[in-house]
């Protein structure tokens, strides 16, 4: 069975730097034989988490919208690529809105203990964070990592790698960056190979 890859594009800006970098990654995974799909978060209708904590008792979210079937798709993927540009030193509100909605899965895992991922499952499920930032600062992605780490932890994915490129303002966009797109393609090919080998063991 081919490796299933799901890319989430968290940018409100279609075909911008981050989505282009995600596309290069997904293309790399396809070259390695994966079935790769892309979801544009801004095209979905979902509301942010209401913080009602009802899921802490039931394990289910009281809000029924596009986020719920998306989590089913995420959980049936072998590789999850989460993409967002950096706005105000963090991920976009669209992506944060989705991440916060994973609370019902967090509750199943940590409060109700009705969901469990074995070490073997986590090893075979790889998560990558894809991001671009206009600023040149080395630390411009640092504040985004904790939420992405929490997201992959909740969903049973190993936080496998980052594909990140800063200084977009200087390069005049991702296509002007000397290495980022080639690196994204290479990482796409390589992660699919790694997952396929783990499946073969």
């Amino acid at each position: 069975m081919p490796v299933r890859v799901l890319g989430l594009s968290g940018s409100p800006h279609r075909h911008g730097n981050t989505e282009t970098l995600l596309d290069a990654f997904l293309e790399g995974t396809r070259e390695a034989g994966a079935v790769a799909e892309k979801v544009i978060l801004r095209d979905l209708a979902y509301s942010p988490c209401r913080g009602c904590n009802a899921c802490h008792k039931t394990g289910n979210c009281i809000v029924s919208d596009d986020a719920i079937p998306l989590f089913d798709r995420i959980l049936s993927s072998d590789c999850l690529a989460v993409a967002s540009p950096i706005y105000s030193m963090g991920i976009t509100a669209e992506l944060k809105g989705l991440i916060d909605r994973a609370q019902f899965l967090w509750a199943r895992k940590f409060i109700l203990k009705t969901m469990y991922f074995s070490d073997d499952h986590i090893r075979k499920h790889k998560g990558l964070f894809i991001s671009t930032a206009g600023l040149s600062w080395d630390n411009v992605f640092d504040a985004a990592f904790p939420a992405v780490t929490a997201f992959f932890n909740t969903l049973g994915f190993e936080y496998y790698d980052n594909i990140i490129a800063n200084d977009m303002d200087r390069y005049g966009g991702i296509r002007g960056h000397p290495t980022a797109l080639a690196e994204a393609g290479e990482k796409g090919r390589s992660v699919v190979g790694v997952i396929a080998r783990l499946h073969g063991e």
Partner: protein, 204 residues
């Protein structure tokens, strides 16, 4: 001259821990007197996320027509800007992140168009307060939120030295902050200190 305070309650949960912390600060400010407070509940304020269109870099205004139309002038006019928001999944909740990202119009004004953001008599006098609560007890639970909050304040001419923080971890269920040993006293002290400092700055 009254001290104008604009406070955002960023949590989707009404009357929860971060909003309680905010109410304690606002009560203490009110008791100092001479303060005009406006509290905005973000879930009712109709602030959509930034579309990333960058039009504000040319237009000096946002292309979206929503709750920010009402808030824009109040943000510029406030002497003290307060953001209260809980930590969800190791970051600031999505509702507050949407407001922060909409400050892009101020960032464009300040850094791209090089136009003033606040009136000259207010420059260097404004103060900001970030209030937050988190369910987890980890001491690094606020680390992902702070850089974002700094952007929020920096773009409206409130530099690091004028930002005050009160962040309380280990409070999860609604009302948990009520039994926290020091949060209420800390919030009261913070509210009083900031009003006194602003009073001095404004020559009262």
């Amino acid at each position: 001259m009254e001290i104008k305070v604009l406070a955002f309650a960023g949590s989707p949960r009404r009357g929860g821990n971060s909003e309680t912390l905010l109410d304690w600060v606002l009560q203490a400010m009110e008791q100092e007197g001479g303060v005009a407070i406006e509290k905005v509940v973000l879930t009712e304020a109709n602030v959509n996320p930034c579309r990333g269109c960058n039009a504000c870099e040319k237009l000096n205004k946002c292309v979206q027509r929503d709750g920010m139309d009402y808030l824009h002038d109040r943000i510029v006019d406030a002497d003290c800007l307060i953001l209260a928001a809980p930590i969800f999944c190791m970051g600031i909740c999505a509702q507050a992140k949407a407001l922060i990202d909409r400050f892009q119009v101020f960032r464009s004004r300040k850094f791209v168009l090089k136009l003033p953001v606040v009136a000259p008599e207010k420059k260097g006098k404004r103060m900001g307060i970030f209030l937050s609560t988190a369910g987890q007890n980890w001491d690094y639970v606020f680390d992902g939120a702070v850089p974002t909050v700094k952007c929020f304040f920096h773009v409206v001419d409130i530099p690091d030295r004028d930002i005050r923080y009160l962040m309380v971890n280990g409070v999860d269920e609604k009302g948990a902050i009520l039994s926290h040993p020091s949060a209420k006293a800390d919030a009261g002290r913070l509210g009083r200190d900031v009003v006194r400092e602003l009073g001095t700055r404004m020559g009262r």
